[in-house]
């Protein structure tokens, strides 16, 4: 039994390092092929629309409720600690800092890993099992340059854009709760936001989101390129890409937090 457990654990560790190795190799190949960005401009724009514009409805819903619930929870937390009037002074600042540093970048990253990372893996996985990737190779077209570079470029550039959009919508959601439920005026709410606003909070969130976006695209592409078998293999790759991307975002978030703050 111990032997079987050790074997399984050993296999898992090997698989982990194999996956990390394939992500790293693909990342290096993407960087090496990025010289063809101009040639890829149409493909990059297509991916920017898919990752960015097409994700707006989902990001809108996610952000508005993230802002709303964080305002509600912050007000609840302040109740026992701060006297009533002080809640007015600090609510905007507290909610804003949470949105800028953590909530918008991480939640947008996870939503995009579910929506885009998984769809990249499914799309490239289907291309792999139907020999479309082999067809590209036979046409002397590098699949990394043609498929992975546009997705990676769109991922790391569009996630910060989505996060900026999410910042605005989440602040509006929080303000709506503050105004309608807690009786805090719009002026007071944004005055509090402005008073404790730090530019560093914004750019750290944007740096994080670029890392999340690029990483999610690399993971989706790598898992997609490695797909084997038929429909079952594609389904397995889709789940795998989402799970790995979500875990990657949480780990990367911690590492970046220790570096940026």
């Amino acid at each position: 039994m111990i032997q079987a457990f050790s074997r399984r654990a050993g296999r898992s560790v090997l698989n982990f390092f194999r996956e990390m190795g394939s992500f790293s190799i693909l990342f290096v190949r993407i960087l090496g092929s990025s010289g063809g960005v101009f040639k890829n401009r149409r493909l990059i724009l297509e991916q920017m629309v898919r990752i960015g514009v097409d994700s707006l409805p989902l990001i809108t819903v996610m952000s508005i409720f993230t802002g709303a619930v964080s305002a509600w929870q912050a007000a609840y937390q302040f109740k026992g600690i701060l006297p009533g009037a002080s809640t007015y002074d600090f609510l905007g600042a507290a909610v804003s800092a949470a949105i800028l540093i953590e909530l918008s970048p991480v939640l947008t990253g996870i939503v995009i890993s579910g929506r885009t990372g998984a769809s990249i893996a499914a799309e490239l996985g289907t291309m792999k099992v139907t020999e479309q990737i082999d067809a590209l190779e036979t046409l002397a077209i590098d699949p990394v340059r043609f498929l992975a570079v546009p997705r990676f470029t769109a991922g790391w550039t569009m996630l910060p854009v989505l996060v900026v959009y999410s910042y605005w919508i989440a602040h509006l959601g929080a303000c709506a709760v503050a105004y309608f439920q807690l009786g805090i005026s719009v002026h007071n709410f944004f005055n509090s936001v402005q008073q404790y606003f730090l530019v560093r909070n914004v750019y750290s969130g944007l740096i994080k989101s670029a890392v999340f976006g690029g990483g999610t695209a690399v993971i989706g592409c790598s898992v997609g390129f490695g797909t084997e078998g038929g429909a079952e293999g594609v389904g397995f790759s889709t789940i795998k890409a989402f799970v790995i991307s979500a875990a990657y975002i949480l780990v990367a978030d911690f590492i970046l937090a220790t570096i940026l703050f």
Binding site: M127, E137, T138, I141, D142
Partner: protein, 244 residues
């Protein structure tokens, strides 16, 4: 033109190709036959560098492609066109984008010029006027024809066909075989096809090589193949008759 010397390829501990030797001259029309799973497609994909054998040499115009760097391999691949078993058309693109892709990627032709050449090639394979259709809107036979038009787009010296009639009804299979034979005669390219369909092999091939247990066990003309007394060839033809 293509020299295959002692090529060996292993999958999951089993040698699928176990020392294949084959020589293909310019202008040859070779059909590689053998039972399903005998390694025909592996051999075909090895010729274009999609699969890397463990041993041996594959010389294309004297240059060994095994272990070659990507850039060098892509340069050699421009000599090839390949028709895949399922046509392998890009789902997200229209027929025009599929067929025109190699030109868009490797030449500086204008969009209008590419469109004109795409229309020419579609006419050549008997499918004019379908430029705006998506692959999902096409029948199996039409997809193969579009795949062939794409394979011929860069005017290749060598065309590879992977099971060109698999999955098609008998009438469409006959049409595809006739089209391939016509292309070979008109374009004077070197053609290599793998198939287990002997009707297809006799229609499109001038020379036949048979794979068995990872080795070439017969290499000769169609007539020599049909008259061969070799028990492996006889067994294969008998197996084919039973399949029909």
């Amino acid at each position: 033109m293509i020299e295959i010397q002692g090529v060996k390829k292993k999958f999951e501990g089993k040698w699928v190709l176990d020392g294949v030797d084959l020589s293909i001259r310019k202008g040859d029309t070779l059909v590689i036959v053998g039972k399903s799973g005998c390694g025909k497609t592996v051999l075909l994909k090895s010729m274009i560098g999609l699969i890397q054998p463990e041993h041996g040499k594959i010389l294309i115009d004297g240059k060994d492609i095994i272990g070659l760097r990507h850039r060098e391999l892509y340069r050699i691949r421009k000599k090839f066109g390949m028709l895949f078993q399922g046509a392998a058309l890009f789902d997200s693109m229209t027929v025009e984008e599929n067929v025109g892709l190699p030109l868009m990627e490797h030449t500086r032709l204008s969009s209008a010029e590419v469109s004109r050449k795409v229309s020419e090639k579609l006419e050549l394979v008997g499918l004019p006027g379908i430029e705006d259709k998506k692959p999902a809107e096409l029948s199996g036979g039409m997809r193969k024809r579009v795949g062939l038009a794409r394979a011929l787009m860069m005017e290749p010296e060598i065309v590879l066909y992977d099971e060109p009639t698999t999955g098609l009804d008998p009438v469409t299979s006959v049409k595809i075989n006739e089209l391939i034979a016509e292309m070979n005669d008109r374009l004077k390219v070197t053609s290599i096809a793998v198939t287990h369909d002997m009707h297809s092999a006799f229609k499109i091939g001038r020379r036949i090589a048979m794979l068995h247990s990872g080795k070439v066990v017969f290499d000769g003309t169609v007539r020599e193949f049909q008259k061969s007394k070799d028990p492996l060839v006889q067994g294969f033809l008998e197996y084919q008759r039973q399949e029909i």
